[in-house]
Structures are given as C-alpha cells and as structure tokens.
Symmetry: D4
Subunit: 248 residues, 8 copies
C-alpha cells in the first residue's frame, strides 16, 4: 500500500499537481519497511535529520544484527545502545566498521564524520561511577556531528572543582550533566551558565537513592531555570536532544 | 565586601592588569544586593541573558512587591509566577505597567518587547484544563523575546486533530507540550517533528494520575528521543528553556 | 460431601422438585476435585465457557504436569502460562499435543479449534520488546476460539506507522494493545476506533518506567474512553477478556 | 482548511473517484470545530457511535455551558461529569432538558432514549459510599442506550449477600463493579459469572487505602481472569466500555 | 552484673523482702546470655510462654547452628525460619532431632509435643503458590502446641470452593489466611466466621502486585472487622499470634 | 426469596429433616434487610456475636440515622464511627440513649452492658495526639462487653514511663497500642508482655510520617512476634479484634 | 509508686547503701508527673540538659497552656512549636514572658539566657520560603544557650552567593541547612566546611517535590560525608541536635 | 591553571599582600589532582581534617587500586568501602598495610593511630544482621582517631537488654545506632541519653521493610529529639559524622 501512496505522490508531482517541496514534506510522514518484528524507518534521518538508533536490551543479538544491517544499507551512521558483550561480538563480527564501547554498552557505526553542530557540547559527570551514562551521551552527540567536551568527577560537595571548570562550561552551547545520588550537580552547573542544561539522573547510589529516583526528583525540582530532565540513565536521550539544540 | 571586590576589579582594569572582557566574565559570577529576606540578583540578566523571575507562592504580597520594585529599578522586564489575586492587586496597584493573567497566576512587566528568538516557539496543550500551565509557558517565552504559536486541545485520543496541526508544528524551532492524565502528547508530537520538545506534565486528572505523577513518568519514558521534561505544572521552566534553545 | 450434594441434587430432579435448567444453574457453582495442593475445577468451562489455565510460576514442573494431566482428562484445550524451559520439557515430554512458545513461556494444548468469536481480535504491540506479552494474549485468544490479527511495532512516536494500520484496526471487534515505557499507544489506538480496547502495560523500559508502573499509570489515565487496563505483563488476561467480549 | 478537505472529498465522490463507503470511512478521521479553548468534535458520535461527554472539573461553568450548547446543536444526548452545583445551575438554567444528579455530579441530556444494547448491564457497588461512582456508571450506560440493573451494598465480607444476587448477576451481559477499601468485590463477582467484569476502584476508605490505590492494586491483581480495570472513581469510563461491549 | 542482680534478688527472697511471685515477675524482665554476635534469651519461654525462634536469613550457617545449640540446651523446642539448604544441612547434620521443610525453609526441633491450645487453628491459603507461607504458619502453630487444620487453594474467584469449607472454618478458634495477588481472601473468610482472622499477605503475583504490596494494602483495608495483618510472607508471625490467641 | 428460604428451612425443621442446631448454623449465613442504599444485616450479632457498626464518613446524617434506627430495633447496642458534629446532632436528637464522643467522633448506643470478656483489655497510646484513635478502640471494646484499662502518653523515647506501667500491661489479656510518628511503641510493649498486641498506626506526625505510613511500616516490621496490625487510625478494628480475642 | 521508689532511693542514700552520684544517675531514669492527657517530665532537663518542648499541633490551646504552665513551674525556658494564632493568644495571654513568632509558629519562654555553647551555630536557608523552618531551628538553638548566625537565601543555583559566605560558614562549629525543592544546598555547604552539617528538608516546592520528599531523598544521598538529616520541616530537631553538638 | 593560582598566591604572600592565615584559608578551597577518571583531592584532609575515602562499588578493582595508591602517597590513613573480595585481593595484594573486613566490605589502611576524639563513640546495632553496617561505622570512627565501644543485638522488643547497657550508653559522647526492620532502636536509645544519636537504617528485613525504607521513615519520625539520620546502610557516613562531633 505504501508503494501505491508513493506512486500516487510521484504521479501528482509529474503532473504538476504537487511541487517538489510539498512532496518532500508529505514524504516525511509516510513510509517504512517491514522486517516482521520491527518497523525499520529509513525516513527518520530525513524526518529528524538524525541517524537511526537501536535499543538492544530485550532484543536478541540476531534481531539487533538484522536491524543494524538494514539500517546500514540506508545510512552511514547508526548507534546501538545497551548492548552486552554477546550482542557486540555478533554485531561487530558480522558488520564492518562497528566499534564497541563496553563501559556504556554502545556499538557505534560512525562512517560519516562531518561536524554539523554550531558550538560545543559539554558532557559533565559528577562521579566516576556516572561515566557509563556520560559516555553514552558523548558517543551519541559525536555521531550526530558535534564536538564534545567531556568533564568527569566534579560533584557539588567539592565546589572548587566545579568552579575550576567554569570557563570550559560557559563556552559550551549546551551542557549534559549526569549525576546520581542526590543529583545536585545540574542545579549548580545551571546557575553558572546561561545555556540549556540537560540533566541525566543516574542509578548510581544505594539505599534511599532508590535506583536513581532521588536524583531524578532532585533534578526535576532544580532551582536553576535552565534545566530539563530525561529518564534515569538515559545518556542517549540527553546526547540526542543536546545535538538538536546545537544545530545551527 | 562585594563593594571591595568591585573596586579591586576596576582598579585592576584601570591599571591594565585586567582587560574588559575578562572583567565582564568575572563580574558574571559575583555581586547581588541584600534585601534581608532575599538576595536580589541584578546580574542574572547579564549572566543568563534573561529577566529576573519571582516565584510568589510562599511569599507574602508585600515581599513580592518589594522584590519586584527592586528588580524593576534594574531591568525592563520581570515575571512573577503563581500569584494569587491578592498578590496581583497589591503588585499591579503599587507598580505601573504590570499585567495580571488570572488563569495562570502570572504578573508580567513587559516594557522591552524586542523579538530576539531565531524562530518560533510552539506551545501546545492537550486539553482545556492544561491551559493555565500552557499560558505560563507562553507568557515566559514572550517576555524573553520570542514569537509564540499556541495550539490548544489536541490530545492523542484524537490523532486527526494533532495531524491537522502537523505543519504548524514542523515550522516551530522548539515546542513546549503541556499534558496531564497519561501525558502521551509529547511522544506523539515528538515523533512528528525534528526539533526539541519540552514536555510539561500537568496535575490535571484524578485518581491514578496522582497529581501529575502519571504524566511525569509517561513523559520521562517517552519513546520519542527529542523529548526532555520539566517539573509538574512548571510552564515557566519550559518557556524559559525553550527561549534559551531559540536564541540565535 | 460434594458427592452428597450432587446426589441430593439429582434426587431432587428425579422427584421433579428441581427442573433441568435450575439443576444446571446450581451445578455451575459447585463441585471441584481435590489434588491436595490445588483444587482443579472441571466446571469452569461450563461456568465460564472457557478452558482452564495454569499459571506455572511458583509451581514445580511436577505440579504443573499433574494439574495439566487432570485438566486434559476433562477438556480438550488448556493453556499454561509463564512456564520456563524446564517446565516445558517435562510437560510436553509427558503429555501429547502440547506446544511450547519460548518467547512468551506459554504451553498450549489446542485440540479443539472451532472458531467461536463473532469478529476478529487485533493484538497490537508498541515495540519489539513487547512481543512476549502480545504473544501471550494472541495464544490465549486463539485457544478460546478467535481469529486474531497481530500487528507489531507501531509506537506513538511514529504516528504514520499507526495510521497506516487504521483500517485493520477499525475492522477488529476488540483490540488488545501491549505497550511499555510511556504506555501511550492504547490512547492513540482508542481514539481511532469505536470498539473496546484492552490495554496491557508491559515491564519494558528502564529507569523511571519502574518495571511497568509508568505504562500502567498512563493507561489508567487514558483520555480515550474506550480503554480498560489489566495487570502489567498480563497478556493472558487481556486475551481472555477480549475473547469474552468477542463472543456472539 | 477542513472545509476544503470536505469539498474536495465530496467532489471526488461526485466525480466517482471515491465511493460512499470510502468517503464515510475517510470522514471518520477528519473534522472538528474550533471554539478557541476546546475542539468540539461532532464526528465522535459517527466515529465511536457514542454521544459526546464533557469533563467539567477544571473548566468554568461558562466554558461547560458553551461546549454543551454546541454539542446539543449536533446530537440528542450529552453527558457532563464531575459538575458541582454552581456548574449544574448555570447549565440546566441555560439549556433545556438537562437533569442534574448531585450524588455523582452528572448532568445528563437524554433526549433520544432508544435501547440499543443487546443485553443488560449490571452495575454493582460494594458499599453505600461507593454509590456516587456507581451512579456515574449507570447514567452513562443508560444514555448510551442500555438497560441497567443496579445492585448496591454487597461486599465480600458478607458473601451471603453476594450469593443472593447470583442469578441477577449471571443474567447480565457485562458487569461494572465499583468498590473502595480492599477492592475485592470484582474478583468475587468475576468468579461467579462468565461475562466481562469492569472493575472501578473508588477512593472510598481511609489510611492505607491511599485514596483508592489499595483498591486499584487489588483489582489489577484479581485472580479472576474476566476482570479489567479503569481509573479510580472513573464510573463514566466503566459505563462507557460496558456499553461498547454490550453492542449487538 | 546480671549475676549480681540475681544474687540480690534471691537474697531479698531469702530475707523475706520479696515473695516468690514477685521474684518471678521481676525475673521475667532480666537476664540473657551473651554469644558475642547475638544475645540468646533463655527467659523468653518463661516470659512469653513460647519457644525461641531464629531468623536464619542474613546469618551464616555457623551462626545459626551456634545459636540453635545454645537454645536447645535450655528448652525442648526451637524453630529456625528462612533457612536455605546449606544452613539446613549444617544444622540438621550437627544437632539431632531437627527436621527441615524445604518448601518454607523451616528447620524445626519439636521434642515436646503437648497440645496446649484451647481450640483448633485453621491455616488457609488462596493458591498453590502461597503454600510456603502457609506451611511456615502451620509449623509454628504446631510447635507451639496447637492442633492445626490446613486448607489449600480456596481463592475468592471461586467462592463455591470457599463456601464448601464454611463449616471447617467456623469450627476454628482462630484462622490464619495467606494470600497474594489481590489479597481478598481474608475479607471473605472474615465475613463467614466470628473468630479472629490473621491475614498474611504473600509476595505471590507479578506486575502491580509489587512483591506483596497490593495484597498487604488490600488486607489492611479489609471491610471485615475481625481481620488483623502481619508483614508480607510472615507466616511465622501469623502462626505465633494465632497460638497466643488460642491459649486457654 | 429470603422469605422462601426461611419458610423452607422452618418447614424442614418442622418435618424433622433438619434439627435446631443445623437450622441455626444455616441461618447464620443468610438473611438481611434491604433499605435501598444499604443492606442492614441483623444476623451479624448472631453470626459474629457482636453489635452492628456504622461507618458514618461518606454517608449523609440522614442515611446514618435511618440505618441506626433500624439496627436499634433489632439489637441493644450499636456503634457509629467517624461521625462529625452535624451527624451526631441529628442522630442523638432523633434516637434516644446515644452518646457522642467528639474527640474520636464515635456515637455509642450502649443499652446492654454485661461484661463478657474473660480478662482485661489494655488500650495504650504513645502521645496525646493519638488519643482520638485510642478512644475509638476503647469505646468499641467496652460496648462489646469488656473491661478496658487505658494508658496514655508512654512513648519509646521515655522508656522509664513505659517500664512504670509494666505490671498493668502484663495483667492485660490483650493490648491495643496506638502510635503515630515512628510507630515503635508496639514493639516495645510486645517485648514486655506475652499476650497478643494489636498495633494501630495513627496519622499523627508530619513530613516523612506520610500520614501514618511510617508508623504502619514500622509496625508491620516489628521485631516483636506477638504484634499484628490494623489500618491507619482504625481504632475500631483494633478494639473489635481485641474483643474477639478476649472472649472466654 | 514513684513516690515509693523515691522514698526507697533516699532511704538507701541515708543508710549509705547508695552514694549521691549513683542516686542522681538512677533518678535520671525515673519520675514524671501525670496530667491525665500527657506525662509531663520534669527530669528531662536533668536527663538531657535541655528545656522541655511542646508540639502544639493536634493539641487544643487549653491542653498546650496547661502543659506549658506546669513546665514553667519547674524550669526557666520552654519552647512550643507549630502553634497557630489561637493557641498563641491563649498561651501568651495566660502565661507571662512568652513570645510568639508567627512565621514559624513558635512560642518561646526564654527566661534564662546564659550562652552555653562552645562555638557558633550557623542556620542557613536556601530560599525565602524556607525561612519558617530556619526560624524554628534558630529559636531552638538560642533558647538552648547558643549564639546563632543566620544566613538566608543562598541556593546552589547561585554558587557565587554561597561562596561569598564561605568564611562565615567555616567559622561555625555546626551548621543547620534548610532547603526545599532539590535539597542540594547541604551537599554544597558540606563540601565547603569540616564541621557537622544537619540538613532539614522543607516542604517548599510543588509538583515532583512531593511535599519535601525530593529534598529529603536528595539530602539522604548527599555526596558530602558530613551531612545528617532530620524530618521534613523539622527545624526544631535540627536546632536541638546542633545544640547538643555545640556543647563544650 | 591551578598552578598559576598557586604561584600567584605565593607571590602575594611573598610580597606581603597576603598573610599566611589568609593564604591557608584560600588554599583550603583550591587544588586537586587529575587521574582522568577521578579527581583525587589531597587537600581534603586539610580541609576537613579527615582521611580520604573511596567508595568501591561501581568502580573496577583497578580503578580503586589506582586511586588508593595516589591517596596513600599523600596521607597515612585511607578507607575503602563496599569492596568485594576481588577488589580486596587486588588492593591488599598491591598495596602494603591494607586490612580487609569481609563482613562490611571495608579495606582499611590505618598507619597513623593517634586517638584524637574527646570522648568515646558507641556503635550499637539492633540485631546480628545489622552487624555489617555497624562494622563499617566502627572502622570509620576508629581510623578517624576515636575510641569506639560496640554493642550488638539490643532490640526494642527486649527492652531489658537495652536497659542493661544504659550506663555504657550514657558514657558515650555520641552514639551510632544501626537498625533494620522497624528501626525503633534509635528512639529508645535517644530517650535514654543526652548526647547526639546518629541513626543508620539498614536494609535488614523483608516484605514491607522495602529494603530499609520502613526503618528510614521510622528514624526520620523519631519522637526522640536528639536523633539525626543518614542513608540506608550508610555506616561510613554515621561513623564519619560521629567523629566530627567527637572532635574536642
């Protein structure tokens, strides 16, 4: 049926009933390809200007590899998140050019490396244990064409550490801040800079951190007005939105 | 002491030890004025490029008016949020040029109305009951120098309504989406556009909406990658970040 | 004692004190057989017009097999849910005609395959990871005598995918929608159709999905009026009720 | 623009490009009318076969009356839920034929009273305090063309009460069960009958009922397979879905 | 020091300053023996008329065995709960007369078997999966000198099953009811009998059962007035209190 | 229909088919009277040996008075709980012999005052603010024929206070302990005595007491084995079960 | 009985069986006076070295006044917290020397004003709305004999404000930090100083602050090791413990 | 840049612009060393007078060892918490003088053992299962220069046990109390003593203990005014603050 829609669209264009801009606009909302277990959407890049991303958790390595193969046939860059070692071995063993980052569980195919972002994206994490989430954000932002400045281990309990990075922070066009435990770092960073801050609560902590809930609530209640929040451990989402904001 | 810091800074500049750019940069992190019950921070506009905002809830009308008066002596525009009618009467009765919006409880002093935003900000709400929160976002974005396109009452249970606004949505540079109940609208909007979407859960609903918790969780778990979230009913925060993103 | 009740009932019928309809009606609420660790209820089929179902989790494979054997002696079809591989091997190794579906953990004995449903039941899932739950719903609806139309991977963030299935959806007499993360799909589907929609939150997601709580709350707060909800991951319950609704 | 869509559609029909069935089908997904603060959707009756419903809470009496007036111009029956006495006075004072039910807060315009349901809908409540929710369900089911059998005050702690209604319950084609506190009644009713049971948790109770959460969780975990659940106190939703299920 | 207290007490008795009843009463609140990692309290039997109980979880098998050995030197019966197989092997291998019940994880030393209870204690469970908790209650009540009547697998969704046990239930002097999922059985049992009912929520269930929370809340909100509740899976506590109630 | 059951039962007795004991036993599970909005159950006293209780919250004063009038026609004692002053005025103004206790909101008709309990019931509360709940328990236990010993204001932070009541506590046959905040008193009392302790969490406290949740959780986790728990603020339930336990 | 204990104790002292130190030590754990509704404990000052405190919420003004009168007869200073205006009028109208602080609801009788603390206690609050809680802490610390340094309105989003108070903070011997919303200030302060920090979450905020829960969780998860936490809005507790720490 | 700051600072001192005290004060807030994945802060000892602590969970053994090595080069004592056996083997195998405590998972380098505390710190735990947390507190307090008195297994359900330690408790200058389940011990201890009590909720328990939440809430609501709380299982934090309080 999609085929018919397409044929009809192109006939309209041919007849002059629809001009090219309108055709493109309509195309943006239409077709996708059916793999049976997942709709692979080759137009997303067109629609959102971004590479496709595969969330590996809950999928078999074979499913991930099959989806990745299709996507790589249609675009240069893809990102696979939350892949364990088994999945990574199958995917990088089957498909060329993939690189696996075990800390964050990301597999990245980064074949087209043009810098498209207007400014720099800073990715900051509060503690060593938050690094996997920060890495996911960093890899995402890079594959989407951004220069990324990563800063590790600057918690609010050591404000002097934070202050020493003030200049690098104020030079960023958007900042991703990953923090677990009390999740206070985004507020502190947000108060220092005038750009948007994307806060990523991490599940780092124990006891009353309740797997990231404490950090999440803290960030949602930030007294800094330039802070928005994504899901717990969602480094990918933060890197993605940061890239959108950083577009010229 | 702040006085001393300032004098010292200017002496350094006079002596040539510090050039003007560096002086400005350092100034960005320093002084504020003491009212006793609240530190009024006149440099925030400089530091964040934004007007000062007063959160009226939990303050007496007299406190709000006193803070507002000081702020108006230092900058053209201010926003007072969550003001009830008593507060509004005192403030707009005492200080000229203030406008009260009873739906959202905002008092706005909008004396400098230059458009600074690069594109348009769309503010969307799912139902009639979400309008107070959407209005807070809209008034914030306007006072911060943006053209705002507001779209009301397009819930996910009536996708045809949403689809009919597709073009206006895709023309926005950033979109604020306010929704209560299941909070699904940001995902649906996010899937249609390629710009950042700021989701505002509202406390609209009853029973298992748990005062906005259902919408909040829904938005944090959005399957659309371009969605970030602010606190429940935080229209101001959404309008603020949208303005930051929309800066050229 | 049940024996006595039965004898007494039949004597009453014999004496003409009770006519056949009344006897059947009363029978509907009475007997069951005692295995020691579980009351096996052979009249459930009569009482509810449905095959018996065994929830395998928390039972030993031996217990499951013993219950299944008894049930198979009294009715043609049974469903065993949440069975792991060990359980499946014992049950299908011991009892003929059983089929194991490892994705959902269902063992199905489907010896009587008459179609009894009036219309078609659609089983929809939002993402690849929701498929186990959707399969449980599908297998249940089938064994209860229904034609099932399964549609995978149509999330709200890609509304064009959903819209392309509009016709298949509107042709169903009842729809089961399985979704994790923000759980928004039932609202979107519910708004497109005029039949009942049974929403199944799944535990798919991470962080603030809280093992399906976010989806559950979202679905309970659906702004579509034709949506009811079952427990997290309860594909069986959804398929069961869908079958009841689809009875002529 | 909707006007254009419609003209274009009818022209296609006139030209024979589109036949009537297809036109109706397409119509089902399109137009609505704009009141500024709420999209009034006259096609919902066509699309879902049901009258329009207005949720009064969070709207001013004037808004409710304006929406109701428009809807009454396009269809015979409407339902307004969660209306307080002020709202009811304005609406029934302005618009003829409206009836107010203070217990549930429903205003009903029931001008077209054909019975369309195939069987009878039973509406059951566990205690006297659950009656407002049960009434909302009953009024909804009636206005949607159903014969309703209401049964009050049969809790699980008095099983003999429940058993005495067994016959009336088994004669229903679908049953709505409203219960607060431990919310156990749907399970007990569900076990007695073979039709679908729609459970409505109510906020009746205190302490660890947590405003209906205990009842909600209880119902979601029902060991009776024929139970689905709607939001806390959502009598309307239950009556609505019951009506859909009861359609021939 | 305890030695001193004792000496002083006995000297007072010798001198006639304290009579025997008073001495016993005071003794009830005093001495215990120190193992270093746990205070072993040999007077508990005297103080509460009950054998000592060891909660094995979180203790090493060696610790459990050492505590058990000491206790067995001072009293005939002890109960060890939540013991895994390793612990059971060490304890029953080291100390004679211990019996291990793997379903519930109880190790019981039952050397003194006098029946002390006035009536019979019924232990009821809703489903096969609740049997481990019910067994813990049963073993506790037995070791404390009670005749126990166990009834398995009578859930509220099959009221006829429950009704068939009505007589056995009404003959009990106190009833322990173990149920997971919606936890409705205690209400139904409570309504049938006039004796105290002790409800034990079990962690049986999935999804929105939240590891027994749904059952716990349901039981706390029971509409039957004769129901009290113990912790999730706390079969021991229920058996213990039932024994206290059953004392003549 | 109940009439028929009754006639049939008495005819059976007349014919000698059923003896008197059996007839009484069967009667225990049958009839009730219909007021339309509430099933008044006159056999509860027979069935549970206890007077009827009316929960006034959520009922109109008129409903309460009507139910009370019927109940008083059938038994000497009734208890109305959670009645506000309006309700109390109507009820005590209409019906003779009622006494209102404003602290707890109880209205008591106590016309038959025989002491039936075997021993004494102690009702203990931790602080002055817990007294309303304790009073509800006390009034309930008294009207059910028990001698009650009330002890106020003995919290765990002043153990010497608690210890000074040790003797009165050990003399009770069952103890009701009401406590808010951390809810630790039942554990401390439970450790001092060998009788059953019924713990009533109260909603006294603020902040992280979460309206009694902290106390409730504390009591459910009591390390004293003789503690069971009822709902938050459920003084009635505690007094009721204490009375059942105290029966000879 | 207490009288007897006392007589016995003094007789022992007289006989030389007990020396004075031992007598004082034993006295520390004994007597209190009975007002019927509250045990007034005059020895607390002796036992804890602190004045008595009355929590007014949940007590009638008359109860508060009666307790206060007794306490004032035995000690110079008392503190009444959470008193509304009615209560304050009765208490300060009846008893001389009381001062009411409407912001925090404290009534203070401060007749003995010796400074006993070794150093200074700093009381810090994050925002203007946190001032009531901070005032409660300040008044408590003062009445317990401490010099208090109060610092208002220094949130983490304006680190330069915080840094400007660094010296005053480092000079304190213990710091109380009151903050609502994300509750991040204690971490930031804790990282700057080496003394103990007592964090008081306040219920200031809205939406996902959940009445102080977000701040509470944040503080419990503080990455600064010198932070402990008290209940939400518990300014009194914080001031109390700060005073204990500040004792020489 | 830090180098520059330092040089500049020392030049100022050399020139006499800054005296030594001021220089030290400023130094307190500045430098740290960069390992790439963690900022190692050698000035913390200076700033807080305490050794550095490494939280091992979430770090690789190699990371832990590298951090420890650096820290040991700058100070005599360090503490590594939450280390598993693998980590301990690597660290103690690589670095001399480390001691591993498997119960609590602490690795301690205690090369400088001067007693600095003014009084004694008591560390109390309620049950045998709370010992790991108590050990963490004890080891922390010791390495920070304190004499520690540990008391195990004194729960509130055996008040006589607690009372027998009254004297040891009153002799402490600060008390750490570790308790799981209902978490009532800190209130009971707090009422006996006049020194600060630091409560540590532990995750010991099951069911409604919710991994320490019940204990945490209980402790936050303590009716003893001298109690503050740290995170669940945070023995380290409690020992740390106790040490700060115990400084002369």
């Amino acid at each position: 049926m999609d085929q018919e829609q397409l044929r009809w669209l192109f006939e309209q264009v041919q007849r002059g009933d629809v001009d090219v801009d309108a055709a493109l606009a309509r195309l943006r909302h239409m077709p996708f390809e059916d793999l049976g277990f997942a709709k692979v959407d080759h137009h997303r890049a067109l629609r959102q200007g971004m590479p496709e991303v595969v969330f590996a958790k809950g999928k078999t390595p074979e499913q991930v590899a099959a989806i990745a193969e299709r996507l790589l046939a249609n675009g240069p860059n893809i990102l696979i998140t939350r892949a364990d070692r088994n999945c990574a071995e199958l995917v990088t063993g089957t498909l060329p050019c993939g690189e696996y980052f075990p800390l964050s569980g990301v597999i990245r195919f980064w074949r087209e490396r043009t810098i498209r972002g207007k400014g720099r994206i800073a990715v900051v994490c509060a503690g060593t244990s938050d690094m996997p989430v920060a890495e996911e954000a960093q890899l995402t932002a890079e594959v989407m064409g951004n220069e990324v400045d990563t800063i590790h281990d600057i918690g609010v309990a050591g404000i002097h550490r934070l202050m020493s990075y003030r200049e690098r922070l104020t030079e960023a066009r958007v900042i991703v801040v990953c923090a677990g435990m009390e999740g206070a770092l985004p507020s502190a960073v947000g108060g220092l800079v005038s750009c948007p801050v994307i806060a990523v609560p991490t599940s780092v902590g124990y006891g009353a951190s309740f797997h990231g809930l404490a950090a999440l609530l803290g960030m949602l209640n930030s007294c800094a007005s330039n802070v928005t929040v994504v899901n717990i451990d969602n480094g990918f989402g933060a890197g993605y939105v940061a890239s959108l904001i950083n577009r010229p």
